[in-house]
Symmetry: C2
Subunit: 336 residues, 2 copies
DNA sequence: TTGTAGGCGTTATCAG
DNA sequence: CTGATAACGCCTACAA
């Protein structure tokens, strides 16, 4: 039940010194073909696996990066994680994926753990505002923000063009003749929550739509809160004719609320979601979305992080969004 | 940009030896209150964080477990991961989450990496059949299977009662008067694929339903394959009146195929999915599912793994399934 | 090209 | 209760 075959065993079996063995294994050119062959044979025979801990202890590089996302169960972040992980793998880094679960305390727990594991760098979709913890982190280890940012941090980030996305959605709904759009936003403590909210307010004004503050609600980026918010919007005296949800889980919640009220999506009420999720196109009706490429976001973040780790100072990246019109806001509207 | 404050610095500042410092830090009772206080003060002042690598190198325990799931983007596995992770945290273990992406090669890459990181144990939802790699693994490090198993391995596992679940679904559909049920199964190379398939065949026979082999298709547990399979089933000469999908992504694929054919779910064709996903109840119509508790599966697997790590020999666990009837198979059926 | 030896940060042993 | 000191497994000068 234990392997404990060390480099010494390999050296002994190969009949060379540990130094030579180490050199062969790390691809040091100063090795004879004969030595290489014998070492590799010994490695294979013993099933030797170098100890990453010892190696990184000695060489001060762990070839490990931490990825802290806010909610694994949100498909958007699952895609981000997937993209980041694949990119890391290509550069032979191992990704430690941790799930903050939209909880600042768990976020801190895992950051602590990353530090303790001496990861070479961290990608994080930060939870809250300015935290002393995060502040300290930024000066300790290479750091990159993904999807979200925190004000006042000089940290490279990969984000979506939130303003553009919201704009595309509002313009589209305005085109369809809506004047009362209900907005289901995220928390103001999260940068994407703020950016999307502010963009919505501006877009509504620009398109001269109804600025009734009762049309603006907010949730916590999770599905239950989307249902609650939609319910609130729809139960008003003068309900909106279209709903815009600031992320996909809340859109799903809204979906349920609409169905429970017997409202037909795409005719009674239009629905648009920020975030595209694979199965949104399989729904009935398929959902109109502001799409951004989650996997690209993840892989880009990883690229930036590796840049930082290697001493470069990469620029932040803002990824474009794209409006994908589907039937949830594409069919014939029913008369009010 | 580097912390590099070691236990020596702490010891120096506290005015005690590293030995004492180490004892204080690891909660060894043989320490004086005075020493404890000074050490803790020094730790706080220096912002010292023990080096997990060095610690585990010396103590032969990394307090780290590897969790290898087959597809992060499948919400079922995201839930499993979440459950496992939370359980680990409670026992102060760190979880390395890796994503095999339904690809045996990536599975091996990550297993290799786990071994190299000297994790204390591994939870895996295995991909393929008997692999030499896995075989070697089982004798090297504590191992637990989750969701899936591999034949011929004496490894504790946590699985669902697949036969029960399929039975519940088929019985329900038979009750509703269906005689031709189309089955969208998973690959035979995966244990759940086999178990659910075999259970389906048995259940169909037991309920004296149509055993037409053309009613049985299979995909790869991902959504695109579900759409293809549904399409094939529905385009036959005598299409089924109900569809049973062996996992949720494939059910989503089937959903899209049905919509594209203009078939109404729950009246034209009934649809039942194995796996419950939070938002399945928000769909229109809400989906009937064979539900099993993914989070419980994850946390149970972690419990078993920690048992193995601590030298116990836990029994495998089979979790029950539960049929949740919703409108996708709960409304009035349309006459054929 | 190869071997030897010191040290990365910790914990464990063994005297005091 | 505390302080030295020897490992843990590996890499990397330095010498040969």
């Amino acid at each position: 039940m234990d392997s404990t075959v060390t480099i010494k065993d390999v050296a002994a079996l190969a009949g060379v010194s540990v130094g030579t063995t180490s050199r062969v294994l790390s691809g040091n050119p100063s090795t004879s073909p004969a030595a290489r062959e014998r070492v590799h044979a010994a490695v294979a025979e013993l099933g030797y696996r170098p100890d990453a801990r010892a190696r990184s202890l000695r060489s001060a590089r762990s070839q490990t990066v931490g990825l802290l996302i806010s909610d694994v169960r949100n498909p958007f972040f699952a895609d981000v994680a997937h993209g980041a992980e694949q990119a890391a793998l290509r550069s032979s880094y191992v990704t430690l994926l941790a799930n903050a679960n939209e909880d600042p305390k768990q976020q801190d727990t895992y950051l602590e753990s990353f530090l303790t594991q001496r990861v070479d760098g961290i990608i994080i979709a930060p939870q809250g505002e300015e935290s002393a913890h995060l502040r300290a982190l930024a000066t300790t280890v290479p750091l990159v923000f993904v999807d979200r940012t925190v004000d006042g941090f000089e940290v490279p980030s990969v984000t979506s063009d939130n303003a553009l996305g919201i704009d595309q959605a509002v313009a589209h709904l305005a085109d369809r003749g809506h004047t009362r759009i209900g907005y289901i936003g995220g928390p103001r403590s999260i940068s994407t929550g703020r950016a999307r909210h502010d963009a919505f307010v501006r877009a509504v004004a620009r398109h001269r739509l109804d600025t009734d503050p009762g049309l603006i609600t907010s949730g916590d980026f999770r599905s239950a809160s989307g249902a609650v918010a939609a319910e609130r919007l729809l139960s008003g005296a003068q309900p909106p004719t279209a709903l815009l949800a600031a992320d996909s889980p809340m859109a799903v919640g809204a979906l349920g609320a609409l169905r429970r009220r017997g409202l037909r999506i795409g005719s009674d009420v239009d629905l648009v979601a920020f975030d595209d999720i694979e199965w949104f196109s399989e729904l009935d009706p398929p959902l109109t979305v502001v799409s951004h490429d989650a996997q690209a976001m993840g892989s880009t973040a990883m690229r930036l992080l590796l840049d930082v780790i290697e001493g470069r100072t990469p620029e932040s990246v803002v990824l474009p969004t794209r409006l994908v019109v589907r039937e949830s806001s594409g069919g014939a509207r029913r008369q009010a």
